[in-house]
């Protein structure tokens, strides 16, 4: 082992130019892999974040539309306690209502939120002009609704419930969730406000959650569902965003394809160059065999060469890939100075790429290793 390793090192050192060439070849492969991987991952995270980052990812509601969740604060507490990977849990009491303004009326969704926890999901406080509602009868309206209906901060608006209940509410702030549809239709208030307005008593219509890892939604939702079989239904964003998911999948698969083909070309490159080194070193292999080196040991020399080239290439490639990624985020910018695509640097993925390159290089070395194992010393001795 040790001898084969030493010989491999010497062979690599004696053909320095060739060694550097192969290592750089592997490095470029690895760096492209890391760059594309980070780019696609960054793109996906950005996409997921902008699509479902500010909404409920798992929602518990009652099976029948009419029915409510009566022990909601117990449930919120239980889920907060039991599932560490759920970041925010918030109960809501929602209902449809009409906003009546002079001659016009607007159909809205009046949402009663627990602002302490709901803020984690909707990040309202970042997008709020004015103050969050505190006491009963205070509401927030969306930016689009404010402009459309010509309401100002501090105005009183009239809301009508489906049962004909009519109540005056005071607008304490204007929010902008970035989605005009929601800005137009949502009116936000506190839980007690909507509970009394809709006559829900101390009950909620749904419990909303946001997770550490959005891709765990499916399993977590299933867990919660099985723990609360009965009249509750648990929905997750994946069920509701099938087209987004298939888009993400397509992206991921194409990224894998690129990475696999990059690695195949690296593999072929290494294999062919190493195959040439066997011919270059056949004299040495022949003399070593005349001196009694075993075929396996002779093969090991080339395996070690592949391994070392792989390691050198992987290290170089990781540095190059990170450099490339850094340059991309530093120089490919939007007009506002943010990167066009924020890259996601995942150490696990980088380690995997490096390990993959090392494995591939070692596998590529099998071809020359086999060749050197078959080399008959007499051919070298006889032909000088």
């Amino acid at each position: 082992m040790k001898l084969a390793f030493n010989i491999a090192v010497r062979f690599l050192r004696s053909g320095r130019g060739q060694t550097i060439l192969i290592a750089v070849g592997i490095a470029i492969g690895v760096s492209v892999q890391i760059f594309i991987g980070s780019l696609i991952q960054g793109l996906q995270i950005e996409l997921v974040d902008s699509t479902i980052g500010s909404q409920s990812q798992i929602t518990i509601s009652n099976k029948s539309d009419e029915a409510l969740i009566d022990n909601y604060s117990d449930l919120v507490q239980e889920i907060t306690g039991n599932y560490e990977t759920i970041r925010f849990v918030s109960a809501t009491a929602d209902g449809p209502a009409l906003l009546s303004l002079d001659e016009d009326s607007y159909s809205i969704l009046l949402r009663g939120l627990d602002f302490d926890t709901a803020d984690g999901i909707y990040k309202i406080s970042d997008k709020l002009e004015g103050n969050a509602p505190v006491s009963v009868g205070e509401v927030l309206i969306g930016r689009e609704l404010k402009e459309e209906a010509g309401i100002s901060l501090g105005d009183e608006i009239v809301l009508l419930s489906g049962e004909g209940k009519r109540e005056n509410m005071k607008v304490t702030g204007v929010f902008d969730l970035g989605v005009s549809n929601l800005n137009m239709s949502w009116v936000l208030s506190t839980l007690p406000t909507t509970q009394s307005f809709f006559g829900y008593e101390d009950k909620a219509t749904s419990i909303e959650m946001q997770l550490e890892d959005v891709f765990e939604a499916y399993t977590l939702a299933a867990d919660i569902q099985s723990a609360h079989a009965g009249d509750l239904t648990v929905e997750n964003w994946k069920d509701l965003n099938a087209s987004l998911l298939s888009g993400l999948n397509g992206q991921r698969v194409s990224s894998y394809m690129i990475q696999i083909f990059v690695m195949i070309s690296v593999l072929l490159g290494i294999a062919s160059v190493l195959a040439i080194t066997v011919i270059q070193k056949s004299r040495q292999i022949g003399i070593l065999k005349a001196m009694g080196i075993q075929d396996g040991q002779a093969s090991l020399i080339f395996i070690f060469q592949g391994l070392m080239l792989g390691i050198a290439g992987a290290i170089l490639g990781v540095l190059l890939g990170l450099g490339l990624s850094y340059a991309f985020t530093a120089f490919a910018l939007n007009p506002d100075g943010t990167p066009v695509v924020p890259l996601y640097i995942d150490p696990g993925f980088i380690a995997l790429s490096a390990a993959f390159a090392i494995t591939v290089s070692t596998i590529a070395a099998l071809i020359p290793a086999r060749k050197s194992s078959k080399l008959n010393p007499i051919e070298v001795i006889r032909n000088g």
């Binding site: 001898l3 030493n6 062979f11 004696s14 005349a290 001196m291 009694g292 040991q297 001795i381």
Partner: protein, 227 residues
């Protein structure tokens, strides 16, 4: 004295059909332990093939090869490699050192092939051999950067490293000048006499051959003279 090499009815045929070349014809040869034998003959006479068969690098088409009491023509590659490593030392015309290593490392190589590493005792032994062949001053030179005579002495030192019973040399001085040739032969002779290593040396130089204990001449694949 016992025979360390015994060849029985060795035939070697290259190729097949109408392009067949019969290189060796029923060669019988015994070589005694501790002897110094030279083999002479025209080029193409089959002397190198004979030496390569003795060295287990080549296989006879038929016949028996006994090296140090072991029949080698039926051994597998692995057994042959071990036999070569422990029992045989080679010196070739073109010295065949590994240019990636220093002279000293080349000398250690047969030991490392057998044992992997090189403990102090092996390093000491390699040093002794380097002194014996008069290379102590240049032992750490890259082997490719030495003179022909130095390279050949390195090859001899390497052949001695594992204390083989037999050293096989194929025109070891073929590309060296007369003075260096003299030095190399005297060195081999000295090793033969002091350590008792058996030498079989191919040469085309009759003057050198005559210094051997025994001269074998080969012509057209047959032993034509044995004195």
């Amino acid at each position: 004295m016992a025979n360390v090499i015994e060849l029985k009815k060795i035939n070697k045929i290259y190729g097949s059909g109408q392009y067949q070349t019969h290189v060796l014809h029923d060669v019988d040869l015994d070589i005694k332990a501790g002897s110094f034998t030279s083999i002479i003959g025209q080029s193409g006479s089959g002397k190198s093939t004979l030496l390569n068969i003795v060295g287990t690098l080549d296989q006879p088409t038929n016949g028996e090869v006994w090296i140090n009491g072991n029949r080698t023509d039926q051994m597998n590659k692995k057994e042959l490699a071990i036999l070569r490593n422990r029992t045989l030392g080679f010196i070739f015309q073109f010295h065949y050192l590994l240019p990636e290593f220093t002279a000293f490392e080349n000398v250690l190589m047969p030991y490392r092939i057998e044992h992997g590493g090189a403990p102090k005792s092996a390093v000491e032994r390699a040093n002794e051999i380097m002194n014996l062949v008069g290379l102590e001053k240049v032992k750490n030179n890259p082997s490719g950067k030495m003179s022909g005579g130095q390279q050949q002495r390195t090859a001899i030192a390497r052949a001695l490293m594992n204390e083989p019973k037999i050293i096989l040399a194929d025109e070891p001085t073929g590309n060296l000048d007369t003075d260096t040739t003299e030095i190399i032969y005297n060195l081999m002779r000295e090793i033969n006499q002091t350590i008792g290593t058996t030498f079989v040396v191919i040469t085309h130089d009759r003057r050198i051959a005559e210094k051997a204990d025994r001269i074998i001449e080969i012509a057209d694949g047959r032993i034509v003279m044995d004195v």
